[in-house]
């Protein structure tokens, strides 16, 4: 049923598209990997270096508890930062590209 109204391979060679693709890829996979490293450091550090988690920082509240809390903050930071970049950068590039094609 679908009518091929777009020449997909032509769009795929459009310099604007290539720029958008490259930017998105670097950003998304870069941050995904960085966030994953931070995330997996939690089970690894708590499992293999438990003494680190025991260091008391604020009264009886130790590094481990604060490290878990920091996981939440890091995830929220990544989400906010991505939203900012996507809203300003990726969406703008996409709009320009779509306008050019249509």
């Amino acid at each position: 049923m679908s009518k091929e109204s777009y020449n997909w391979s032509e769009i795929a060679r459009n310099p604007k598209y290539l720029e958008l693709k490259r930017k998105k890829r670097v950003f998304l996979f870069g941050w995904w990997i960085a966030a994953s490293i931070y995330y997996f450091s939690l089970p690894l550090l708590s499992g293999y270096f438990p003494s680190l988690f025991k260091i008391k920082l604020i009264g009886v509240i130790n590094f481990g508890y604060l490290f878990i809390l920091s996981q939440f903050l890091v995830a929220i930071f990544v989400a906010m930062y991505y939203t900012k970049v996507a809203n300003s950068d990726f969406d703008r590039l996409t709009d320009e590209l779509v306008k050019e094609i249509q």
């Binding site: 049923m1 997909w8 708590s46 508890y65 878990i68 995830a75 996409t94």
Partner: protein
């Protein structure tokens, strides 16, 4: 059309009514209690002759002797009226949604008309299951910080979904996992395998939820297991069959709203009790004698305190519950990748009109869930401090009743109106939670059967909207019935394995298949099929030989140890307490029943040491996908890569995506 739906709804209600009313088999005046929730017979169990034995200890505990309760005893009248209110509201939503569900796209994706904000709440609702609401706070109340560590996985899983799954899937798909995977591959075999995988994952998850629901309602309402499973099942089928995605989404949103209100209120009351001082709160926990005793005797099993060891501080340190770091990493992989491959989560991205809204919905869901899990940590530690781990584990060994007990306490204590109201409210919230989660699962499984198998394989995509909706409804009905039957059959089964399995299959099969479909040019039919098959089979194979299965020989050995210890005591002339005599009896039966028996696959002990297979099965699924792809080169799939890539990056052709 509408009258038909209404009459069918009435039928559902009629079916449900005897389901709930079946409980009078135990207590005479209960049928009446349902109609008139204020009937006082329920409030004074001891006054009713022929009261089931199970209620006796609860009645004793409620007496002001200061004894520890051995059971949560919600006020049935208040609880049932709250349940009925929730059922009433959701049924109104279903009627409203049913009137607007006309096309296949209405049924599966609410016509793409859900906003990012609504979808965010609905996704958050999918994550906040009864297991996290009741189970996680229970774990924290018994094992301290390890329970809190559990919360990081679900929260972090949003990162993969946000960055690499949600928007591309929104742009490249239509209703199901099969739509994404079959985009540039041989549609029929890929859809068939994708449907099998979706149904398997959803049913595993669904059965675990049904069994959990049955057991929870059994405790909360004091009704038989089968009645609660059938009741939950009928409601779930009603929501999905009549209201499709729109009703499922709104049930999910209502539940998420209720759950967050309950959680915020509970956490606020805990902090108010602690004088709004977090440092003081944790200092009190560390200094609490009961918590110190619990850590020393029940968790670390030190009969005599080690000199200079701070057992209270130990509660704030990891390793009381999570023992094996590799298992934690493996669980982490299952969360980080598995959640992004769960069909009922994937399906939620198709309900919003654009990639931008999909992005917004994930960010909102992340916010809600981060707050939720943070508050759960306050509730869990609060339960440990204000109830004591001893009391929590005496009511339920796994701590699952901690949240409920805490609500009762903070509302004013057992028997007080405030306590009863707050407990009933939290029970009703748990009930709404279960209903919402199971509905989403039924919808995902039936979409795979109706849309992928029936419409696209059997009918070659040639089915009009009316037929598609009809088939989808019939399929949902049968999926729901299957879930009820399996839920009933699995009453005595160990369902913990099923949840681990659902996540492991999603992480090892679905996730690599989706990722490579979107990002690897050469990926093809052989790649998809090998990823799904190897991912599923390896996850399944590893779980059935892992420690999460039940090993009768181990139960027999443990029982034998108890028997010999107690018999030795008896021989030494000690008179055993009634509790010990009962334990001796039970252990003897356990021993004879389990000795020489083997696990489901004929093992006496686990072969695979980890509870979570992800660390092995995810690489296996990925390698299989790559090898399968490289062995069978497919030029067509490569040629079509430009299309899927341009679509997923730019969102071009999104309205046409519903035609391909």
């Amino acid at each position: 059309m509408f009258t038909k739906i209404l009459s069918a709804l009435m039928l559902t209600l009629l079916l449900a009514a005897p389901g709930f009313a079946e409980e009078p088999s135990k207590q005479a005046p209960q049928g009446a209690a349902l109609v008139q929730p204020s009937a006082s017979a329920l409030q004074a169990p001891a006054a009713v002759p022929g009261q089931p034995a199970a209620a006796a200890p609860a009645a004793k505990a409620a007496a002001p002797t200061g004894g520890m309760p051995t059971k949560v005893k919600p006020n049935r009248a208040i609880t049932i009226s709250m349940f009925m209110t929730i059922i009433g509201i959701t049924l109104c939503v279903v009627i409203w949604a049913a009137r607007q569900t006309k096309s296949a796209s209405d049924f599966y994706t609410a016509g793409g008309g859900i906003t990012g904000l609504q979808n965010g709440w609905a996704i958050a609702g999918d994550y906040m299951s009864a297991a996290s609401f009741l189970g996680m706070s229970g774990l924290i109340s018994l094992y301290g910080i390890d329970g809190f560590m559990y919360a990081v996985g679900p929260m972090f899983s949003f990162i993969a979904i946000l960055l690499v799954i949600a928007e591309p899937c929104r742009n490249a798909g239509k209703f199901t996992l099969g739509d994404i995977l079959s985009f540039r591959t041989a549609p029929k075999p890929v859809r068939a395998v994708a449907a099998i995988s979706t149904v398997t994952v959803s049913l595993f998850y669904l059965i675990a939820q049904m069994v959990g629901a049955g057991k929870l309602m059994q405790v909360l309402l004091d009704i038989p297991y089968r009645v609660s499973v059938i009741g939950v099942g009928i409601l779930m089928v009603g929501y999905v069959v009549f209201g499709g995605m729109k009703a499922t989404t709104w049930v999910q949103i209502i539940k998420a709203g209720l759950l967050m209100s309950g959680t915020v209120l509970l956490a606020f009351l805990v902090m108010a009790k602690a004088g709004m001082n977090p440092v003081g709160f944790f200092t009190d926990i560390v200094g609490n004698q009961l918590i110190q005793d619990h850590v020393r005797m029940n968790v670390l099993k030190d009969a005599l305190p080690k000199a200079g060891f701070d057992y209270g501080q130990r509660f704030m340190e990891p390793g009381l519950f999570l023992k094996n770091p590799l298992d934690q990493v493996s669980l982490g992989i299952a969360w980080a990748l598995g959640a992004a491959g769960l069909p009922h989560i994937l399906m939620r991205f198709f309900t919003v009109p654009s990639a931008k809204e999909a992005r917004k919905s994930i960010v909102i869901a992340l916010f809600i869930n981060s707050s939720f899990f943070f508050l759960i940590n306050i509730i869990g530690f609060g339960a440990a401090l204000y109830l004591s781990p001893q009391l929590i584990s005496s009511v339920d060994k796994g701590g699952n009743m901690a949240t409920l007990l805490l609500a009762q306490l903070l509302g004013g204590g057992a028997g007080s109106l405030g306590g009863d109201m707050f407990l009933a409210f939290i029970c009703a919230v748990a009930f709404a939670t279960i209903l919402a989660v199971v509905s989403g699962l039924v919808l995902a499984a039936s979409a795979a059967i109706a849309h992928d198998v029936y419409v696209n394989i059997v009918m070659d995509g040639k089915a009009d909207q009316h037929t598609q909706v009809k088939v989808a409804r019939i399929t949902s009905l049968f999926v729901g019935l299957a879930a009820i039957v399996m839920g009933l059959a699995a009453e005595k089964e160990n369902v913990v394995a099923l949840v681990a399995l659902a996540f492991a299959v999603a992480a090892s099969g679905n996730f690599p298949a989706v990722m490579l479909s979107l990002f690897w040019k050469r990926f093809n039919t052989a790649g998809v099929i090998s990823a799904l098959l190897v991912g599923t089979i390896s996850a399944l194979g590893l779980v059935v030989i892992s420690p999460v299965m039940t090993y009768p020989q181990k139960i027999a050995d443990d029982a034998k140890k108890i028997v010999s210890t107690l018999e030795k005591k008896q021989q030494e002339g000690a008179v055993l307490a009634e509790k010990d005599l009962k334990l001796l009896d039970k252990s003897r039966t356990d021993y004879t029943k389990n000795n020489g028996q083997t696990s489901m696959v004929g093992l006496t002990a686990p072969i695979f040491p980890l509870k979570n297979p992800g660390i092995v099965s995810v690489p296996l699924g990925l390698i299989a996908a790559i090898i399968g792809t490289l062995l069978f080169r497919d030029r067509r799939a490569e040629d079509m890569f430009d299309e899927i890539e341009v679509r997923q990056i730019t969102g071009l052709g999104i309205s046409k995506a519903s035609d391909h």
